[in-house]
Amino acid sequence: MIEGISIYEILTLTSILFFIGIYGFITRKNLISILISVELILNASVVNFVVINKYLYPDILQGVFVSIFIIAIAAAETALAVSIIINLYRQISSVEVKDTEIMKY
């Protein structure tokens, strides 16, 4: 609970953060940038968890736990994604998203 700042303002902030992530995910050409965008989306939701927990249910801690949990998983997921990207680079010498479309029809 932060004095003078209401829940609406913080939620607006996280929404903006979330859509920045979405925008980055859709428009970036580089796989690393896309990964960073994904992190932004995740962080937006983590902040949401904490804020909603603090403002609406100050007596319990579930939201905080979940946020820690998400951070841990995000770390693992990043490691995985980076390893995929490295492997991809070894295969096609590129981390550009337009070069990875062999799955089309």
Binding site: I22, F25, I26, I34, V97, K98, E101, K104, Y105
Partner: protein
């Protein structure tokens, strides 16, 4: 008395079949024959033990042989209508057990010699085991449905064994023909069973055959097109029996079935499977006799008599030894059929039934012997055709003597087995239906004639050009010949009327001397004629044949039955009925389905560009969808 051990009689051959069938390649061909023989030997011993127990240890109770049934309910429909599996022991099933055991055992022994050096030997013995199992199951069946199941099983084993040489197109065609023709007849059998089940509410032989039972007493309560529904059912069941027993007009498969190995012809197409139809009528004899005053039984009698005459005439002109024997089998089966048809029920009246079963027994022995001897000859000269055989008595003494015994037996010359049974049949026919009696006498003469025609042709006359000198077959083949010849000599002295009668009470049969004299006279005349025609090479037969002209030609071509069926099947059924249906199926039914498939493919071709393979496009579509849904839910709901 508990007869439940008799279940082993069918199960042992089944075990042999499974053993040889599953470990087909791992068992040496030489070993497989012995496995088959020992399995069958066990079944044979059990059969004889059962017969001894039944007839001599238990014997008659209150002057009547008892019926023993052991069964469990297999499918339950209503309180009375259920399909059981079990075994039924009564005089005719015991008699059939003996016939099937002895002939199967002999054929198995014979096959060791006959099939030597054949790669598929193990498969052959496996199928023989399957056949024996099915045939035992058929004779021990307790109800119509069980008999139907085993009925089809013997049909399958027959199919497999006829088509044993599956690389030979004619064998494959014959196997298919046998299966399709008998299947077609079995359709009648099945419908008959269903009608019986519907109107009497039971499939059980004991309930159905009880002369005081409701099934027989209430036959008049139903009617369909002027006849009792039960009579229709019995006629339909007889159609099934006619198919298996090669009665007219379902006989066309039997001569072609001779494409199978000769031991198979001896076992299945002479001695056991083909008598299934006669057995079926005998099994339901009280129903045939009592329902509608024996209307269905009359049909049986006339079909049998006509088939008998018809087949005997064709047999005279055939040139393939096995085909002569096949038509002879058909003729003798007709004999058994009309003997059943002219039989009464009580006491002395049941002589036709008794004679039919007696002839079934003796015929199985001497006809199996004839076929096995024919196999021995074919083995020696490598040909089926009579023109390639001649003067063989010097080379094959045992085959010669045994063949002669069998030929005398089938011609009805005393004291051989066939005389006694044939005489009883003629007595029964004489007492009940003069027309059929005359047909029977003519057939007896024809039988003697065609039998001795091939006998003189094969064993006397001039030597033919043989690739190598024919020599007598090995002991494994001659032993069954000698054994069956022994039965063909003494088999007639069994007092059959003591054991097997419709009312199961037994009676004393006496030889009817005038009728016996006529039968012997006719038989001897036939032999004499054959001797005149064929003992020495002469053109008497040819002149005679020319004298008959068109009739001879018709007979040679088996009265064009095959051609007629082919015409009906190809020109009428295939062209007029099947072809339009096939067109409808191909164009309309298939067309619809193929059309749906094609349209789907075309549509997919057009829209597949949407799948760009770029993750970001998908993510964009996903987010866009979520946004649209969010807008819809927020503002429009």
């Amino acid at each position: 008395m508990n007869f439940s051990y008799t279940i082993l009689i069918p199960l042992i051959p089944l075990a042999v079949f499974l053993l040889l069938g599953i470990f087909n390649k791992k068992i040496k061909p030489t070993v497989s024959g012995y496995i088959g023989v020992f399995g069958l030997l066990a079944s044979t011993l059990l059969s004889f033990y059962t017969a001894y127990q039944y007839f001599f240890v238990i014997g008659k109770v209150d002057g009547v042989y008892q019926t023993f049934v052991e069964k469990t309910v297999w499918m339950h429909f209503t309180e009375t209508l259920h399909i059981d599996m079990g075994i039924l022991i009564d005089p005719i099933s015991i008699m059939m057990l003996i016939v099937v055991s002895v002939v199967s055992l002999m054929v198995n022994i014979y096959s060791i010699g006959y099939m030597k050096g054949d790669d598929g030997c193990t498969r052959f013995f496996a199928f023989l085991g399957l056949f024996s199992f099915s045939m035992y199951g058929l004779v021990l069946a307790t109800n119509l449905f069980q008999i139907y199941i085993f009925w089809e099983l013997v049909g399958v084993s027959s199919y497999l064994l006829i088509g044993y040489y599956y690389t030979k197109p004619s064998a494959v065609a014959a196997a298919k023909k046998a299966f399709i023709v008998t299947r077609f007849a079995d359709l009648g059998f099945l419908i008959g069973i269903l009608i019986i089940g519907y109107y009497t509410g039971t499939f059980d032989f004991e309930t159905l055959n009880n002369p005081e039972g409701s099934a027989i007493l209430n036959w008049a309560s139903t009617s369909f097109m002027g006849l009792s529904a039960i009579t229709w059912a019995l006629i339909l069941i007889f159609i099934g029996g006619a198919g298996k027993s090669a009665m007219m007009p379902f006989h066309i498969w039997l001569p072609d079935a001779m494409e199978g190995p000769t031991p198979v012809s001896a076992l299945i197409h002479a001695a056991t499977m083909v008598v299934a139809g006669i057995f079926l009528v005998a099994r339901l004899f009280p129903m045939y006799y009592f329902v509608e005053h024996g209307f269905a039984l009359n049909i049986v009698a006339y079909v049998g008599a006509i088939s008998s005459l018809f087949a005997a005439i064709i047999a005279i002109t055939q040139t393939d030894i096995k085909r002569v024997l096949a038509y002879s089998t058909m003729s003798q089966l007709g004999y058994m059929m009309f003997a059943l048809g002219v039989s009464g029920y009580d006491g002395q009246e049941g002589i036709g039934y008794m004679a039919s079963m007696f002839h079934l027994f003796t015929h199985a022995m001497f006809k199996a012997l004839l076929f096995l001897a024919a196999g021995s000859i074919i083995h020696a000269v490598h040909s089926n055709y009579l023109k390639d055989m001649g003067g063989l008595r010097k080379y094959m003494p045992i085959t010669h003597i045994t063949f002669l015994i069998a030929a005398l037996a089938i011609s009805g010359i005393p004291p051989f087995a066939g005389f006694w049974s044939k005489d009883e049949i003629l007595v029964a026919a004489f007492e009940h239906n003069k027309l059929i009696y005359y047909i029977g006498v003519i057939v007896a003469g024809l039988t003697a004639f065609y039998m001795f025609r091939i006998y003189f042709g094969i064993f006397w006359g001039k030597d033919r050009k043989y690739e190598h000198t024919p020599k007598e077959s090995p002991l494994s083949m001659t032993f069954p010949l000698m054994f069956l010849a022994l039965i063909s000599i003494v088999g007639g002295f069994i007092p059959f009327s003591e054991f097997i009668t419709p009312d199961k009470a037994g009676f004393d049969a006496h030889l009817n001397y005038p009728l016996a004299a006529i039968a012997i006279g006719i038989g001897l005349t036939g032999i004499l004629l054959a001797w005149m025609f064929y003992k020495k090479e002469n053109n008497l037969a040819e002149k005679f044949a020319n004298g008959f002209g068109i009739f001879y030609k018709w007979t040679c071509n088996k009265f064009y039955f095959d051609e007629f069926y082919l015409f009906v099947a190809k020109k009428i059924i295939f062209k007029r009925i099947s072809a339009p249906i096939a067109w409808f199926d191909k164009k309309v039914v298939d067309g619809t389905m193929v059309g749906i498939g094609n349209k789907t493919v075309q549509t997919s071709e057009k829209i597949k560009g949407m799948q760009s393979g770029k993750v970001q496009d998908y993510a964009f579509a996903f987010v866009g969808g979520v946004v649209v849904l969010a807008l819809v839910f927020i503002y429009l709901w």
